[in-house]
Point group: C2
Chain length 219, copies 2
């Protein structure tokens, strides 16, 4: 299903004074036009998983592999969203929900312009992810569960957040003091205690090929 | 000034169990990488002006001209933002401000991935536009004042909104019952009662060439 963000405003408008006979033609560039320019389809790849599961690492590695094949990617994560667009939101249930809603809407925009956008957020609630899927549309949404035992994620603890959470310095920390709801039917499960990030990224590249989102091999 | 959205999370992470000796390298694709792939720079072209001034028409025409030269554009306007990302916002002063803030943050994301993004919103308040400029950074922000006498805009009235506003069916309508604050030093002024939309789009293409955002001529 293709969204055509530029259509729907195609009314001819007169310019008034000196150019009253000129019809303001409306040449909306469509999603398909942009996808043709880029040489691939737009899609939203939505990573979900515990802190420390490897979401960001795999997201960046996937972006690298795709970039090397000439695919335009956009990586959205806490670093470029939490401090900007969602800088006004905290971590209450309502704010978490709004956080995911806005991210999903931005992802939809990126996809509608032909970009492969890769999102790396814990996104612990099934309801929120299902809503994100609903916003994108089934054909444009690939949910990837980055799965890891809590003990492994806690041992990695790349940002020292689990330690803080255990000390009670962070409230509502996913996996410790707040729930993580596993996806029921994600498009892919990546078990990062069993595979290297490179293997995970390769599997995702293959999935994008199989779905016809990117061409096979280098262009 | 280039933003590098993917950097800053470059810590090596161990994968735990089976791959405990594998360092999870971090290959962040930068803005420059994406700009090289696309063959042009990212930038935010921010149209401001009355309803009926011609913002959307010129935005779409600019997008067409750029697309024909192989430039990836994203057009953001009321149609794809007000019903999605900002669907929770109304038209109170606070909501208008938040509307512009979010749009500016999304524009910054698009720009950071190398895309020429074109925004067509009335954005009537100088303070909000200056804030948008601040968010983008001076080098990444091109403010375009789509200027037209109120009488001309009202005569065009492509959506019938001025009629409704005059009848009092829309409160706080820019130009009628709410102020429009003209830009003090926009990068470009387009007087749409004096020029055709094609002429306006051509002037903008030239500006983007002069600034080195796109190459000159077809690639």
């Amino acid at each position: 299903m293709f969204v055509q963000p530029d259509l729907g405003r195609g009314n001819a408008v007169n310019t008034g004074k000196t150019s009253s006979n000129v019809v303001w033609h409306h040449h909306g560039i469509t999603r398909e036009d942009r996808e043709e320019l880029l040489g691939h389809r737009g899609v939203t790849v939505w990573f979900t998983g515990l802190s420390g599961s490897g979401k960001s690492t795999i997201a960046d590695m996937l972006a690298s592999r795709l970039h090397d094949r000439g695919v335009l990617t956009a990586v959205l994560d806490g670093d470029n969203v939490r401090h900007g667009l969602n800088g006004d939101l905290g971590f209450s249930p309502g704010d978490r929900k709004e956080n995911i809603r806005r991210i999903a809407e931005v992802a939809k925009l990126f996809t509608s312009f032909g970009i492969v956008n890769i999102l790396a957020f814990i996104s612990p609630y099934r309801e929120d992810r299902d809503f994100a899927r609903l916003i994108q549309g089934e054909d444009d949404f690939i949910e990837v569960y980055v799965k890891v035992p809590l003990e492994v994620a806690e041992k990695r603890d790349p940002k020292g957040l689990y330690k803080k959470a255990r000390r009670g310095e962070i409230s509502s920390f996913t996996g410790i003091s707040a729930p993580y709801e596993e996806p029921l039917s994600p498009e892919m499960v990546l078990e990062t205690a069993e595979s290297t990030p490179g293997e995970c990224a390769d599997r995702l590249v293959s999935l994008l090929e199989e779905r016809g989102i990117i061409g096979s091999g280098r262009r």
